[in-house]
Symmetry: C2
DNA sequence: GAAGTCTAAGAAATCGATTTCGTCAAGACC
DNA sequence: GGTCTTGACGAAATCGATTTCTTAGACTTC
């Protein structure tokens, strides 16, 4: 790896001039040519570490998500990445596993690596963003919120919960249960509120279950619900993976998803394989990512407007036939 | 962010001593205490950028994968991350989209960010690893291989292809087609060889289709196959997502997956939703990741043994009932 | 033509760690 | 007691860019 000094020596100019050429500062045509020739001959690439040490910032943004194996978050990551690429930024994907310890460790790394900013979906309300924020690094919360004063992009979760539940009532189901994520996460609580609002007086004791956001959690919760004296005849899950688990449990219990209503807030992964009767409330995952990235990049560029919270509306989708489903996905590419 | 100098001043020692304390070098008990107290009081965190500039290397490894939305690769990423964490390394996930341009860009970033090493699944045989390799950075190829002299972890692809095809023959299907990934990628070619070997003389012209590794590719290929004068009665796909696409096409054509044989090299994502009759050859994705990470970390630590290629055997799985399927996943956690 | 204004470009400081080199004192050895 | 090790630790160099100063010309302006 050639350095700026070697280039300078070969070009017969000072290192400062080489730096200026590569940063687009005023340098005469003549010397620019000399420098570029020398750089090309030496296959010079500026050392980003040195640059970062001096500038005290890099062109890297950290993205902290709770579960890299959940398609919702990979789609979100996609969105962030696309937007970042456009501006010449790289994205470092960090998987927190919803573990506050891992989350904290990644936040420290982001700080000590002088990353330009952070986009995160907090593992809990207790995230300590103090260090990052006081360092002046911009932070954007996505999908979930935090008590810290940072920009946020979220989904209209209550409406999403209402929409999912209503769809089941409209289809004639009456004993509609709810499988929610862990208590204490605002996004899932809001969806539960939506469910509760629709279900209201009709709600039966014990029809609400908390699970762990993953397939096994949805499976266990559904199994419990089916074992009740008066089991529900339909269920709403507050995320995509728990719906998969619930469907598994139904299949195992010999219950056809056509007779038992299932609605999910979120899009079932690889939908083509799912029973067409499942109600899905589509969440704009990718869009969430691009929006968050756009906001973060604006802050990085120095935008100082007051804090913003953008709320994206979920699109209520009727059960689609695979054919339509496929066509929709195609056009989205 | 406090610096080593401020800590030194507060502790009444030289910056060198502070550095020594944090790197476990010989320092008297007395001064160690002074330094640690001062550091704690200032909430000192060493600046990794400065450290990296001096040491000319970091504790970060780059992982380049072709498709972050494919569960096979996220599972692989998981494996890499788990192993890296254990050794105090962080993983930067880079999504190449099978685009040589993006891949090259990420490789350059890895070099200029002085990352400790690279694990990649090359987008094509034309990857230019020259720069990284000549820099002395270790590289491990995973899932796919490259002509460069680097360590590799791959799957016994031909056997996997054979197993998938055989299972269909054993189930009584005779006109077994194959949907393969893009030509020129060794992993998929090998699986096709496996298919060809079993199918042999029985093979019909036109039963081999190349597609793009994604759901839409599998869908298009399957649609073409069904439109043939003598359509096949079963199909092998060389990856997981193309199988999903193929199943979509079957459903659309009104063909039940029970009557038309489907086998996939790879595990169908969120299997519980897939028809139980689909044959899957399980690929040890996560294991691939941990193995690659282990090899890379050994190289980073200075291991200079001759190049190694580890071949992992795929496990042939009979169509499983959802119940068994679920039990298996549970126990794997 | 003298004073004032720009501009290009080199010298040198700077970012914050690590590491080499020396120094000094304590203990080992003959 | 004098020489040799050995070990702790400070001074200063180093990593490779960016960013002040500075300075020397070129160009205005009255």
């Amino acid at each position: 790896m050639a350095t700026i000094y070697e280039v300078a020596a070969l070009a017969g100019v000072s290192p400062a001039t080489v730096s200026r050429v590569f940063n687009g500062l005023a340098v005469s045509e003549e010397k620019q040519r000399l420098v570029r020739d020398a750089a090309a001959r030496l296959a010079f690439t500026p050392n980003k570490t040195a640059r970062r040490l001096r500038k005290r910032s890099s062109e890297i943004i950290a993205l902290l998500i709770p579960d890299i194996e959940n398609p919702f978050y990979t789609a979100l990551a996609r969105g962030v990445e696309d937007r970042a690429q456009e501006s010449g930024f790289s994205v470092v994907l960090c998987n927190t596993d919803d573990d506050p310890g891992k989350e904290l460790r990644y936040l420290q790394i982001a700080a000590s690596e002088q990353m330009a900013g952070v986009i995160l979906s907090p593992a809990s309300d207790e995230v300590d963003l103090g260090a990052i924020v006081s360092l002046g690094r911009p932070v954007v919360a996505v999908d979930r919120t935090t008590p810290y004063p940072v920009d946020a992009v979220k989904i209209d979760n209550r409406s999403a919960g209402i929409a999912a539940t209503k769809a089941l009532f409209d289809a004639g189901y009456r004993r509609v249960a709810c499988i929610a994520g862990p208590a204490g996460i605002e996004a899932t609580e809001d969806r539960v509120h939506g469910w509760r609002q629709v279900v209201a007086s009709r709600m039966r004791e014990g029809y609400l279950r908390h699970a762990n956001f993953r397939v096994d959690g949805g499976h266990a919760a559904m199994t419990h619900l089916l074992a009740l004296d008066t089991p529900p005849d339909a269920v709403v899950t507050t995320n995509n993976l728990m719906a998969v688990g619930a469907l598994q449990a139904l299949v195992e219990a010999g219950i056809s998803p056509e007779t038992f209503g299932v609605a999910a807030v979120g899009e079932l992964p690889f939908m083509a394989l799912a029973p067409a009767s499942v109600v899905q409330v589509r969440l704009p995952a990718r869009h969430l990512g691009t929006t968050a990235a756009t906001m973060l990049l604006e802050r990085i560029a120095g935008d100082a407007q007051p804090l913003r919270t953008v709320v994206l509306r979920a699109e209520v989708a009727p059960p689609a036939s695979p054919r339509e489903e496929w066509a929709r996905k195609e056009s989205a590419l």
